[in-house]
């Protein structure tokens, strides 16, 4: 089940809201956990066994670490932590990486959201072992942290120490419903109206002769850049909105990354929770930037190696990770002062260009295709083809909308208008969102299904 399917929007979600709202406070968490189990099991009930056994494994590991620390057995607690850590890592290696090289494991299909569940489990173990949080005593609350359905498939990633204190605040109110569903509708529109429209243009262009020209390659690159942004940020909006419905504040994941004027800023704004996770649980424990320049570089290299590897165990993701490591290292150590000499719009344009070039290996099946695409971008192909003009016209509207919407201008304009006439604007925006939602429903009913891109990681 996905968040942009009719079954979810018109059956699962209303039922979940109705049941949770009707339940007494002490049963709300349990109801939400049950619905999350149902969501995870939909289509492949057997997946629940892995999700539950991994959750219980880490739950009891946390309790054991807590009990050992209470008795001063820090060394033993460390060993248990290491065992728990290895167990969780082993799970993701088994399902995600070994099948790439071991033929007999190719039949193993990872459970839904495994990559993101892994982040939750590892961050929990780190927090409990370091003493940042106490171990969870309530398995229902812990399972909700691991498998909460809005964030199960593609995040946002939230650490245990940020989630645990929200568990007792689990409730549905008129305000949370309005705020949450509004945000959900916006995310749905981003996915269905913009991301899917751009995806259709991209797929058609990629299959045409236009893709083998310089102009077509740049157009394809723009298409994938905004397709990914609206698909993933749309999903994040939906997840954050759904969390808000039930009284949970999930962290923001996209903060206008294409409007950033530095690569550091870009990575604090693009899939922000992933960057934060690697910073808190890899970069800082390794020493961060507290050591020498070389030590800092090595720590950054580790982070970007792991970031690329997490996305996929292929060379193209490794290249993507190394591209961003190189850019961040250059920005931090070489170009830190040079940057300030350029005006803000120029810095934004440069960062945008460098970021989208990184999507070439990200979206290529092989290094050969990566090199081919890069070659065509920089002149190694005919300049133009009639089909490029066609796809520019047919996909151009969605692209223009995408470019305008990806910056922080719409938000600024909305806030300004809200200050002037709040009631009028709230009413107009409510009608607008309802209309958007109606169009989304029509699209959901009529269109071939396109899954969320990040669901594949």
């Amino acid at each position: 089940m996905q968040l942009d399917q009719l079954l979810f929007v018109f059956a699962f979600l209303p039922l979940c809201i109705a049941v949770c709202a009707a339940m007494p406070q002490k049963l709300k968490k349990a109801s939400l956990a049950l619905f999350s189990l149902l969501f995870a099991a939909w289509g492949r009930p057997a997946d629940l066994i892995i999700i539950l056994s991994a959750s219980f494994f880490v739950f009891f590991t946390g309790l054991e670490i807590g009990a050992l620390r209470e008795n001063g057995c820090r060394r033993l607690a460390g060993l248990v932590f290491a065992g728990g850590f290895a167990g969780v890592l082993g799970l993701i290696v088994l399902y995600k990486y070994l099948p790439l090289t071991v033929g007999s494991l190719s039949s193993l299909t990872p459970p839904v959201g495994l990559s993101f569940i892994t982040f939750s489990l590892l961050s929990y173990l780190f927090d409990v072992f370091s003493g940042r949080s106490g171990p969870a005593k309530d398995p229902v609350g812990f399972f909700l942290f691991v498998g909460f359905f809005p964030k199960l498939i593609s995040g946002p990633i939230i650490a245990w120490h940020d989630f645990e204190h929200q568990l007792e605040g689990c409730r549905i109110s008129a305000d949370s419903l309005e705020r949450g569903l509004r945000r959900f509708a916006v995310g749905l529109a981003k996915k269905l109206l913009i991301a899917n429209a751009i995806a259709a243009s991209y797929n058609a262009l990629a299959a045409s002769s236009g893709a083998r020209t310089v102009a077509g390659s740049w157009l394809a690159l723009l298409f994938v850049s905004f397709m990914l942004y609206y698909d993933f940020s749309g999903y994040s909006d939906m997840a954050i909105g759904l969390g808000a419905v039930f009284g949970f504040e999930l962290p923001e994941n996209f903060l206008h990354p294409y409007a950033c004027d530095s690569m550091t800023g870009f990575w604090r704004s693009w899939h922000a929770t992933l960057g934060r996770w690697f910073r808190d649980y890899v970069y800082i424990p390794l020493g961060g930037s507290r050591g020498t320049k070389l030590e800092t570089l090595v720590n950054m290299l580790c982070v970007w190696f792991l970031t690329g590897f997490w996305h996929g165990g292929t060379l193209t993701f490794f290249v993507w990770g190394m591209w961003h490591f190189a850019l961040l290292a250059l920005e931090k150590f070489i170009f830190r002062n040079v940057r300030e000499k350029f005006p803000h719009p120029v810095r934004v344009a440069i960062v945008f260009l460098l970021a989208i070039i990184g999507w070439v290996p990200f979206f290529s099946d092989s290094l050969t295709k990566t090199v081919g695409w890069l070659g065509r971008l920089f002149g190694g192909a005919p300049l133009w083809d009639a089909s490029v003009g066609y796809y520019l016209l047919t996909g151009g509207a969605a692209l223009v909308l995408a470019v305008l919407g990806s910056g922080n201008l719409p938000g600024k304009l909305y806030k300004k208008a809200l200050d002037r006439s709040p009631d009028f604007l709230r009413a107009v925006s409510a009608v607008f969102i309802l209309l958007l939602f109606a169009v989304c429903v029509a699209l959901m009913t009529g269109e071939t299904y396109t899954s969320f891109l990040y669901a594949g990681f």
């Binding site: 219980f56 009891f60 728990g84 193993l108």
Partner: protein, 160 residues
């Protein structure tokens, strides 16, 4: 280690054991990594192929309405003459969700053959009704019509 920690440790190991058991069972019952060519060859070796010939992809599309390129491998032995009924079809599914569509296509092929021979070829009709097998297992679909149908299915399963 105190009692509390020991109990949590036991629970931890039980959870881990449950997960490992599930993975092992999944590997045993999951999609086969065998190639369609190998499985087809093994099944073919168990039957008398006289009176049959190997089909081109276009013939698979014509007879079954299936696009072979949508599968992970697909092979067909079909009758050389209109009076033959022996057949062997093996397909490796690219996606497990394709199984239903392929099984439906195979079922329609069998029904069509039965209709062709009903009242005209008693021997062929008997083969189609009594000695035909359709099996879907571990990401593969096999359809066979021959006197050695059971042996073909055994060979098919052994090759997975």
């Amino acid at each position: 280690m105190n009692l509390k920690a020991l109990l949590f440790s036991i629970a931890r190991w039980i959870s881990l054991g449950a997960g490992v058991l599930f993975v092992v069972l999944s590997l045993r019952g999951g999609k086969s990594s065998a190639s369609a060519q190998d499985v087809f060859s093994a099944a073919k070796a168990a039957m008398d192929v006289s009176g049959t010939e190997q089909a081109e992809p276009a013939a698979i599309t014509r007879l079954y309405g299936i696009d072979p390129s949508s599968l992970d491998g697909c092979f067909l032995l079909f009758p050389s003459t209109n009076m033959g009924a022996k057949e062997l079809f093996v397909a490796k599914l690219a996606d497990s969700s394709d199984g239903e569509a392929i099984l439906k296509a195979v079922g329609e092929r069998l029904d069509s053959q039965k209709k062709s021979f009903d009242g005209y070829g008693a021997e062929q009709f008997a083969l189609l009704t009594g000695s035909s097998r359709i099996v879907c297992e571990r990401g593969f679909v096999i359809f066979t019509v021959c006197a050695e149908a059971d042996a073909v299915i055994d060979a098919f399963k052994a090759a997975l």
